[in-house]
Symmetry: C2
Subunit: 110 residues, 2 copies
DNA sequence: GTCGTATACCTAGTAACGTTAGGTATAGTA
DNA sequence: TACTATACCTAACGTTACTAGGTATACGAC
């Protein structure tokens, strides 16, 4: 479960350049060193949602093999959203770090 | 949205010692430097779920003020779960880091 | 040649989760 | 007396990711 960070992850995977859905899955897997191995049923609805939201632009293309693919690229809006999500992520992960460090421990709890 | 990390966050807040629900909220807020300011309606169901799952033990206590509180503490199982969640978190945040760094960029995409 | 696998797309249904929006009650303070 | 802070709770809702299917083509093995 990537709960809520999936949009960010997909946007990040497309930051380097356009890709089609299947390639996005592999790119995410590669960049995360195998940690995120997402099923297609997870990715495709996200791509559709992001496209509908104007964060991605998708267009059909035909590969050399003759196979049809839907290639997605970040829109301006999507780039801005990625920056925002990234900033949020920094704050989020710092806050979690603070949770683990514990701050000053409360004396004599209970 | 803390989507899926909430259990970990609550467990982490209780790692320093037992606390009642309202105090957990404040502890989380303090340790996260204000980043996580959770409404009660978010925390209480989590506490109940964690207790039902055997990760927390709750008991009613009466404060000096005479106010009744439900004080939760980590069980052995809860401690183990926290360790596991923390390890998961490390891997997760590393993977997200990898996503942002991008690994080696794919040449000439689409 | 055909059989299996990898590629490539899709959607309906489900379950979990966090939030919203309420409700109750007591202690302390203005 | 009234308001605020403390302290607990739950029902309903919307979002989200996952499961589990389905379709179709390219390619290599046999």
């Amino acid at each position: 479960m990537l709960k809520g960070h999936l949009d960010m992850i997909v946007l990040a995977a497309l930051a380097a350049g356009p890709a089609h859905g299947y390639a996005v899955i592999e790119e995410i897997k590669r960049r995360s060193a195998g940690a995120f191995d997402l099923p297609e049923g997870t990715i495709y609805p996200v791509l559709h949602r992001l496209e509908e939201g104007g964060l991605l632009a998708g267009r059909w293309m035909t590969a050399d093999s003759g196979r049809r693919r839907r290639v997605y690229s970040l829109t301006r809006h999507g780039e801005r959203e990625l920056s925002a999500q990234r900033a949020l992520w920094e704050r989020f992960s710092e806050a979690v770090g603070g949770l683990f460090k514990g701050g000053r421990p409360s004396k004599n709890p209970a």
